[in-house]
Assembly symmetry: C2
Homo-oligomer: 243 residues x 2
């Protein structure tokens, strides 16, 4: 059975303006690979209601899971929850369980659950809450869309809590060898290995380091014996390569 | 006149698998902001022909410019040029000017323009070449799609050559203040400033540092006087904030 598929939707003006370099994408990609869920697409859209709603709907229809990051805080530009509710065609309002979580948190912290913070208790109908061990305000799963915070510490904590509840597939393993030659010199041999091992993915990632060209060749697949056989074939082509 | 809009399409299994952390997105976002082109969306797709073609077509129809990164080298997994040609419905083949650039490069370097490398001279009909001062193999612009390499040094050099040829708009300036309070405590005042300055974008980017919550408030716009006025309003709300 093929692994479940996933997409990520990053809501973030600050990434599109170049102010912030995304880290949630890289984090989620690694965790999903470990969990046997294939991340097939990432979209980054602006804090724009139509853009969020349309992307959420398209990705939700195309993939088994959609993970979102950002836009669920208390400020005027936090519109993700409303947009996801609209994408799924369900109403949204303050929910008692989410309000109780926030109330308990601010009681402990000595803060006030004011109107702005109460917006973080707005949860679409039918959603399941995602625990936020950092700052209480929960994420939620609505159908196959998992809505999480953008602050990396909170996003990572939410992912850590959510993933064990999702069915994973076979873990995709990878092996890498580093060849200190131009990509054009090794392309023919790589193509041969790729066609001899159609069940594996053979990727070629060139780099420039200190003015010299080289290639990281990455082989991926879930059958470790096949991986090792492909690596053996690559090493016979490139005996000088480093693992 | 509103600024031109843009999207970026990153072709990269290695980013979706979590192996590599993208840097081209962050680089392009910064350069486009400086040039007055609004980056509205980024998509990262796998090295999959249908995914690349469909994303390229959708983004090309929705935005003034599409910038792609990755998949134009000499190996079997470099399929971007073919996919972009299909997305635009034009034929592709080895072009004499691209072949001459590669031949001159390998003559200089003492390498061979073998069949694999000759694939990098395949250019869709009607495209304009984008100069590659690092490793010769050119990118190209086909209509509003600008196709560039994925290796960061090459991508950045191509962007540096390409952007001056594209019409930019008003440069979007930004100002940031850092408020060491929870987002929920400042949300009401932020919302007020955002509604008083509808011509500006007021973004709120929370962070957790050493266990304490804070917010970077970023105001963006192309009218510097309005930006300074909004910053004055924010400072009167948050006199303790640091710029």
């Amino acid at each position: 059975m093929p692994n479940p598929t996933a997409a990520m939707l990053v809501i973030g003006d600050e990434i599109l303006s170049g102010r912030t370099r995304d880290s949630n994408m890289h984090h989620l990609a690694g965790r999903l690979t470990e969990h046997g869920i294939d991340l097939r697409e990432v979209r980054v859209v602006a804090d724009d209601a139509d853009a969020i709603e349309q992307a959420a709907r398209a990705l939700s229809e195309a993939f088994d899971h959609v993970f979102t990051s950002g836009g669920i805080g208390p400020t005027h530009d936090d519109i993700t929850a409303e947009c996801i509710a609209r994408a799924k065609g369900v109403p949204i309002g303050v929910r008692d369980d989410a309000r109780a979580i926030l109330q308990a948190h601010y009681d402990r912290q000595g803060g006030t659950l004011n109107d702005a913070r109460l917006r973080m208790a707005r949860i679409p109908e039918g959603a399941t809450l995602i625990d936020n061990p950092v700052s209480a305000a929960p994420g939620f799963s609505l159908g196959n869309i998992h809505v999480m915070a953008g602050v990396p510490q909170i996003f990572e904590a939410m992912v850590a809590g959510l993933l064990p509840t999702l069915t994973g597939g076979a873990r995709v393993e990878s092996r890498t060898i580093r060849v200190e030659r131009g990509e054009g010199d090794i392309a023919e041999a790589l193509g041969q290995v790729a066609s001899d091992y159609p069940d594996l993915s053979v990727g070629s990632y060139p780099f420039v380091q200190k003015g010299r060209f080289g290639v990281n060749v990455v082989v991926r697949g879930s059958d470790v014996d096949r991986l090792e056989a492909a690596m053996g074939a690559l090493k016979s082509h490139f005996p000088e390569a480093a693992e």
